[in-house]
């Protein structure tokens, strides 16, 4: 059942384009963000914005790997749409007076490591890896975090923006799971070999090393904002539920690995996991700036809060 018609999806994506200029960023309601919320919201938004941006880069890599032209074009749009989300979130930050002038907020160190990894290696990762990690990122970090925001912030403009963002996300997920299922087809044996091959790839290990702490950091962020972490976990379980609803999807070894990882992330009692990973979060905070990757790739500079340039 779950398979979607990619041609129709592409047409729908094209027909559902929106722009920052469609939203009145100066409409009343900004004052609904409370003084108490403000500092935490600022940190949260900065991270969220960067996660969207990082997701965007993931789609750029997937467009390269797409097995057909339609999927390639869809990913090209999704790449742009994630950037649009980042832009819209930056516009919200601007509206709430959270930007330092026109400057894009600094990404946290975990994100900087992820950015670095994406920049160096994502184009070399097989679609199997990206096609599984990205939907996970989408659900856990992107989709779920967006809904949290709506629970805490009353500003109608924020709701307006996220209504559109979530609408886009629903299409991202639809395609994400479709691809998971697509990849479940075929010779399982080959799939496993390929998976093992990439797991042993040191570049991927580096990726995991930056992805895991990012998840934990966002969990901390969520708690700091006064939200139950269960919400984040519920979202991650959604990945397992939807991704695993067909045999093809379940057969995808990457789905297996990632959903299992998701389960571990959710289970706080997994000290073997959370101990070191939490330590990594704290450690990355301790990395002195001068040893952090200094070269910022130019794709990072494309974000803007301006509806018209």
């Amino acid at each position: 059942m779950a398979s979607i018609d990619l041609e129709k999806m592409l047409a729908k994506v094209k027909a559902s384009q929106w722009a920052l200029a469609d939203i009145d960023w100066d409409a009343p309601g900004a004052e609904l963000v409370t003084e108490e919320q403000w500092p935490k919201l600022k940190a949260f938004m900065a991270d969220l914005m960067w996660i969207e941006h990082v997701g965007a880069r993931g789609f750029a890599a997937m467009a390269r790997k797409a097995p057909n032209d339609t999927l390639k074009e869809i990913y090209t749009y999704f790449h742009a749409e994630e950037q649009r989300h980042a832009n819209a979130e930056m516009a919200l930050m601007k509206r709430w007076g959270m930007l330092d002038g026109d400057r894009v907020p600094e990404p946290n160190k975990n994100l900087r490591l992820v950015i670095q990894w994406l920049d160096r290696y994502s184009d070399d990762m097989p679609l199997e890896v990206l096609g599984s990690v990205i939907p996970m990122l989408e659900i856990a970090l992107d989709g779920a975090l967006c809904t949290f925001l709506l629970d805490t912030v009353d500003d109608p403009v924020c709701h307006q923006a996220f209504a559109r963002i979530n609408d886009d996300e629903s299409r991202h997920l639809g395609v994400g799971f479709h691809v998971l299922e697509m990849q479940g087809h075929g010779d399982l044996y080959m799939k496993v070999l390929k998976t093992l091959g990439t797991i042993l790839d040191p570049r991927l290990i580096l990726g995991i090393a930056s992805y895991a702490p990012l998840l934990n950091r966002m969990r901390d962020n969520v708690i700091a904002m006064g939200l139950g972490e269960e919400r984040l976990y519920a979202a991650m379980k959604k990945f397992e539920r939807i991704g695993g609803r067909t045999a093809d999807g379940r057969r995808n070894p990457w789905y297996q690995i990632i959903s299992r990882h998701g389960r571990i992330v959710v289970n706080r009692r997994q000290r073997f996991y959370h101990g070191p990973v939490d330590a990594m979060v704290r450690l990355t905070d301790l990395i002195p700036d001068r040893v952090m990757p200094s070269r910022v790739p130019t794709w990072v500079k494309g974000i803007t809060y301006k509806p018209v340039v």
Binding site: K14, Q17, W18, A19, L20, A21, R64, D69, E73, T76, Y77, A80, E81, Q83, R84, N87, A88, D119, D123, P297, T298, W299, G302, T304, K306, P307, V308, V309
Partner: protein, 552 residues
């Protein structure tokens, strides 16, 4: 091959007029600007003539009554192909032909494409007729104005002007099998008849606008590369160029010098290789003039250089890798930023689409006032372009470097053959012909740049000359044997196409990338799968047995 060589020698008498001295013109930009005004007028008139042609005062050419006696040959189009056909007819002693041209000047491609930076990307010595060499080319790759001068020179040197009917827009061709005559329907004029017809309306003569939402809402200036507006002042303007094909890479380096900001909207990057351009030194021109054989030798050398390129471009060979490496190195040298490089690197095999030749395109993209935008275009708004990243780009002017409508299926106007056949219907799923030039059921009709005649690696004019020779033989057959009709046999045509498609399947064009060479269903009705030498060999023989004929 020998066939073509022979004909070259017989036709290589020096023409009456002297070839154009283009050096001076190139140095005087003022003069160039004046020249440019004419094509613009053409474009405007062309547009106007769509609606009001019948009301317009008839021009000189039109005052001539349509000949009571049908002409021997009618030619549609006065570009390189139509004029080349005319020259060959004239030299063969066939004088009663007419050229029907919808514009009001000759030159076709080079009359219409007068955008800044327009130039050929095949060396001029090869992008000219072998039977009318020009020793005066100022550059190895000449600019559009110089090429247009050369075309004007052809018209006067061979006395073609009296044959050309300007502002004669052909709207249909009908064959009368009883009389063995083609009738050209003309917009707002009496139809015209001839025993043979030559379609030389150009493969790239109808400007294409992309199908983007809201184009009509956009209030700023719109210019198509093939209908340049020389009155528009780009100084200090915010300009967008849509498209990154052959025209765009020539326009962008020129525009960037004038405008305030230039945004280049790219959908797919193309392979770009460096271009060995240099001014022709004076001693070189003197040599060519004194010793025409030396110029023929250079042409020959250029021809074979381009023939080797076929190995890289047409088939997947070690040379393909080599060409890709050359292009990658060119990119690496000229663009330092990793992300920009990534965005400019094609993900298809070189040759699958037209390979671009430029030294100044990449540097132009790196200029401070230029921005390469790879987000998909979502729509036009009143003030500019909205991209899918949610941002609106405010613009004063949008330049469409989006190419041409290439009829890969169907015909540019209705062509009706024997027994009520309509060619557009027959070609709906992809065009087919015999040796690119004749189609069964449509006797006495010759296509220049018909199906599967496209060069991917060599001068279009090399291919064109082979077609002209072939068409001339067909016309000779028709007139000398006093035939009513000469029609290629359907079986012969079918066999030809079967072989053709088999060979095409092995080429880079059919290797799975989308391009304007292919129809929606991936049928290649555009390119010739082989060396120019093979194409010339194919065209060198005219087998009477391939044709059905009927006497008059």
């Amino acid at each position: 091959m020998s066939e073509t060589d022979e004909s070259r020698i017989t036709t290589n008498e020096a023409p009456a007029a002297t070839p154009p001295k283009a050096t001076a013109r190139k140095a005087a930009p003022g003069k160039r600007a004046v020249k440019k005004a004419a094509p613009k007028k053409t474009a405007a008139k062309k547009a106007a003539s769509k609606k009001t042609a019948s009301k317009k005062a008839p021009r000189k050419a039109a005052t001539r009554k349509p000949a009571a006696k049908p002409a021997s040959v009618l030619i549609v189009g006065a570009g390189f192909a139509g004029l080349g056909m005319a020259i060959r007819l004239k030299k063969a002693g066939i004088d009663d032909f007419v050229i029907l041209e919808r514009g009001d000047d000759v030159g076709g491609t080079w009359r219409d494409n007068t955008y800044p930076g327009a130039a050929c990307d095949i060396p001029s010595n090869l992008y000219s007729f072998s039977f009318a060499p020009n020793p005066n080319w100022s550059h190895s790759y000449s600019g559009g104005a110089e090429i247009l001068d050369y075309i004007h020179y052809l018209v006067s040197a061979f006395g073609l002007r009296e044959h050309i009917r300007f502002q004669h827009n052909v709207t249909a061709l009908d064959f009368d099998a009883r009389r063995g005559l083609w009738t050209a329907e003309l917009e707002g004029r009496e139809p015209l008849r001839a025993r043979a017809a030559v379609m030389a309306q150009g493969p790239l003569s109808n400007a294409r606008f992309p199908d983007i939402d809201g184009v009509e809402d956009y209030q700023g200036k719109k210019i198509h590369s093939a209908r340049w507006d020389h009155d528009y002042d780009f100084t200090g303007k915010r300009v967008a160029v849509i498209g990154t094909g052959a025209s765009a890479v020539q326009i962008i380096p020129e525009l960037v010098e004038k405008v305030r900001s230039l945004k280049v909207f790219q959908r797919t990057p193309a392979w770009v290789i460096p271009r060995p351009d240099f001014r022709t030194p004076d001693w070189n021109k003197t040599l060519f003039r004194a010793l025409p054989a030396s110029q023929r030798a250079v042409r020959e050398a250029l021809y074979w250089t381009h023939e080797t390129m076929a190995m890289a471009v047409i088939w997947n060979s070690p040379l393909t890798r080599l060409a890709e490496r050359l292009a990658r190195r060119h990119l690496r040298r000229q663009v330092t930023d990793d992300w920009m490089r990534r965005q400019l690197t094609p993900d298809f095999r070189i040759g699958c689409k037209r390979v671009l030749v430029s030294n100044d395109y990449y540097p132009a993209l790196r200029k401070d006032n230029t921005q390469l935008i790879t987000w998909p275009i979502a729509k036009f708004s009143e003030n500019g372009i909205r991209t899918a990243d949610g941002v609106e780009h405010e613009l004063d002017c949008v330049v469409f470097a989006t190419g041409f409508d290439v009829p890969k299926s169907g015909t540019p106007f209705p062509v009706r053959g024997r027994a009520g056949r309509e060619l557009g219907e027959e070609w709906a799923r992809g065009a087919q012909a015999y040796k690119s030039i004749n189609v069964a059921g449509y006797p006495n009709l010759f296509f220049l740049f018909g199906p599967n005649s496209g060069p991917g690696h060599n001068s279009a004019l090399v291919y064109m000359e082979a077609q002209l020779d072939y068409a001339l033989r067909g016309v000779h057959r028709l007139l000398d044997d006093n035939l009513k009709l000469l029609d290629v046999k359907p079986t012969v045509q079918a066999r030809h196409n079967k072989q053709l498609q088999k060979r095409l399947a092995r080429t880079n064009w059919n290797s799975g990338c989308k391009s304007w060479y292919l129809t929606e269903d991936g049928f290649n009705a555009t390119m010739f799968p082989g060396f120019a030498t093979q194409y010339r060999a194919q065209m060198a023989t005219f087998e009477d047995g391939d044709y059905d004929s009927e006497p008059r």
